[in-house]
């Protein structure tokens, strides 16, 4: 069935994947609209890569349904693969082949004829700025350039949906920034991205994020939606950032103060969730009573990291109450 413009790029409904008696993916549902940059987040071993493998038809589904670009993954994984690009964590390039040869190989795999192949390679080389390295062995490229080449290989056949599995793991900050600029560029041209990442600043850049924790999606929405979730902003509380020179001591002190519901260190400051009736002046007073020097206290909107930390705690508390259905061993 041809995908019309309103068909979502990905619909996942109640995806389940078991390995023996371990459930790696447990009832995962989400929808990715066309043109979105969908950030799929979660700790290591939470099932991110497994979900990608299921959506690309590499792993059969133990349960649920998935359609990618309007194509049923269960029925026609081959056609799904024709219509997507995929870039894996380790960039998957042939190090003894040149930039040109890597591109040519992937182009031919997707069955581009010679004329189309040349045209697409020219386009990609121009877009990704690979020109100066065209005849160089990919082993000699730096991490950032390898990643650009890998992305180029993944989009030679003009897929409308590209999966990027931790695209920025192990590359320098400048290259990371440049990659995201490139993704925004491409996204403006209507390409949908499915990106997994550990970096919260990258999550903030996505137009849609989902957070998976031990096989279950525990948050799904735009970053703004998530920041406003009632679970993250319980009624009668607000968030503050406490800047203090000795953060760890300050944290210990803060945890003793009545009215502070939770507190975590973020770099050189503490993010705390506190009751409405504890005002900022009072809080500073109490901290200073414990000989903590406080530089600044100011109200703060929750960051995505706050959101995920909060949701993870709630989820753990929930699971501790009800007996676990399946043993939740970390997925190797």
């Amino acid at each position: 069935m041809p995908a019309s413009d309103t068909t979502p790029a990905i619909t996942a409904q109640h995806l389940v994947r078991r390995f023996g008696d371990f459930t790696a993916v447990n009832d995962v549902s989400f929808t990715v609209q066309k043109g979105e940059i969908f950030g799929f987040l979660g700790p290591n071993g939470s099932g991110k890569t497994t979900v990608i493998k299921m959506l690309t038809g590499l792993l059969p589904l133990s349960g649920g349904d998935a359609s990618v670009q309007g194509i049923d993954v269960r029925k026609d994984p081959e056609t799904v693969r024709e219509n997507i690009g995929y870039m894996s964590q380790n960039f998957s390039l042939y190090s003894d082949l040149t930039v040109e040869e890597n591109l040519t190989f992937y182009g031919r795999i997707y069955g581009l004829d010679e004329r189309n192949l040349r045209r697409r390679i020219d386009d990609i080389v121009q877009l990704n700025g690979l020109g100066p390295y065209y005849k160089r062995l990919s082993a000699q490229l730096s991490g950032g350039w390898k990643q650009r080449l890998a992305l180029g290989c993944a989009m030679l056949h003009e897929p409308k949906l590209i999966f990027l599995d931790e695209p920025t793991a192990g590359i320098d900050p400048v290259a990371r920034r440049q990659l995201w600029d490139l993704l925004f560029d491409l996204s403006a041209h209507g390409i949908t991205f499915f990106v997994t990442t550990h970096y919260m600043d990258e999550a903030e850049r996505c137009s849609h994020v989902a957070y998976i924790y031990f096989g279950k999606v525990i948050a799904d929405g735009t970053p703004d939606d998530l920041r406003q979730l009632p679970e993250v902003n319980p009624p009668g509380t607000y968030r503050v950032e406490i800047s203090a020179p000795h953060v760890t001591q300050a944290l210990r002190a803060a945890r003793t103060i009545r009215g502070i519901r939770s507190a975590t260190i973020f770099g050189q400051s503490i993010h705390a969730l506190i009751d409405d009736n504890l005002d900022l002046g009072h809080l500073r007073e109490q901290l200073e009573q414990q000989t903590i020097h406080v530089a600044e206290i100011r109200p703060l909107a929750p960051s995505l990291e706050d959101v995920f930390v909060e949701l993870t705690f709630r989820h753990q508390a929930l699971q501790a109450k009800e007996p676990a259905v399946a043993p939740e061993a970390p997925h190797a």
């Binding site: 493998k53 690309t56 590499l58 792993l59 059969p60 081959e78 693969r81 024709e82 997507i84 995929y86 894996s88 964590q89 380790n90 998957s92 390039l93 042939y94 190090s95 003894d96 082949l97 040869e101 040519t104 190989f105 992937y106 182009g107 031919r108 795999i109 997707y110 069955g111 999966f163």
Partner: protein, 374 residues
Amino acid sequence: MLNPFRGFGAVFYKETLHVRRDFATLFFSLIIPILQMFLLGYGIDTNIRQINTVVYNADGRRESRELLDRLRNSDTFHIYRYVNNDHDLNDAIVSGKCRVGIKIPVDYSDKLIHQMPAQVLVLIDGSDSSVAGQAINVSTAIGLDESLRRVLASTDSAFAVNMRPKILFNPDSRSPNFFLPGLTAVLLLNVTTFLTAFSIVREKERGTLEQLFVTPVRPMGLLLGKLLPYLGIGFFELLMIVTAMRFLFRVPIHGNVFLLAFLSLPYIFVSLSLGILISSKATSQAHAMQLAFLTILPSIFFSGYIFPRETMPKFFYVISYFVPATYFINITRGIILRGAGLVHLWADALALFTMGSLLLIIAARRFHDKVITA
């Protein structure tokens, strides 16, 4: 609509590049079999000659010396040392210096002169069965011949039956003629099974296999694309081996060289497929290497290359039918030594081709099941 060989051209292109980039590996895998061929071709003589022999001649007269001359002239025995007592005779064998000990008793000549049966003791070291067998045969034959001559001389008549053996192929029993055609099968493994054994596991280690799975490439396209460049290399190696065999070792080729080249293709194909299957099973390149080594010994010992298949125990005889080298050695010896044609050898070629296809299909099925996850 689904093309089962999808991606073949792309993979073929890429593999050729890999081979070209890694020229050192290719060079060594081509040259090592040739070196081995020189070592084995010059170093090994399958004919048993000049067995070290210790002699205790207690008699010492003319008759006993004549007997020793006959033993020496047989080319089987080389008299290494004379001793003067039983103990030294025994000692020379136990110490491994000599394989055969001959004791001629003190009354040997007396008994012959008086037309009584004389006895000669032949001690044989049985630790190498083929040496022992040869020593028994030749010493018995000499004894028999000696007796007959004496009997016939006294009655003045001729041999009643005169056996005239004629060896049809390889008449002078040159070792290289027999040895090298079989060796070809073993040497080829070096550029076939060994090279492809790395091909897939290397991609597994690099993580590129995972990437390939997300493309529309089909298992058969992938496997054949990987296999075919090496078919060319294997074929080139075969031509090198056959050339060296013909012109350096002077092994005459009685049959059609082109038929030999043509019928080597199914053998190279099956060896490559075996490598591919190993590669799909192995978890690391070191693992693949070990599995590849496993294929060598059966190719040497169960193929009839060294030991005739007919003398194997039933069980191993049956096993030898599953060893590809069995068929190829039949083909090489058939064409090179006996001048056999396609009429005689088509079944061997067909068996090889079938085996190769089966192995490849099994390997491809492993990809279908996606057992191979990084």
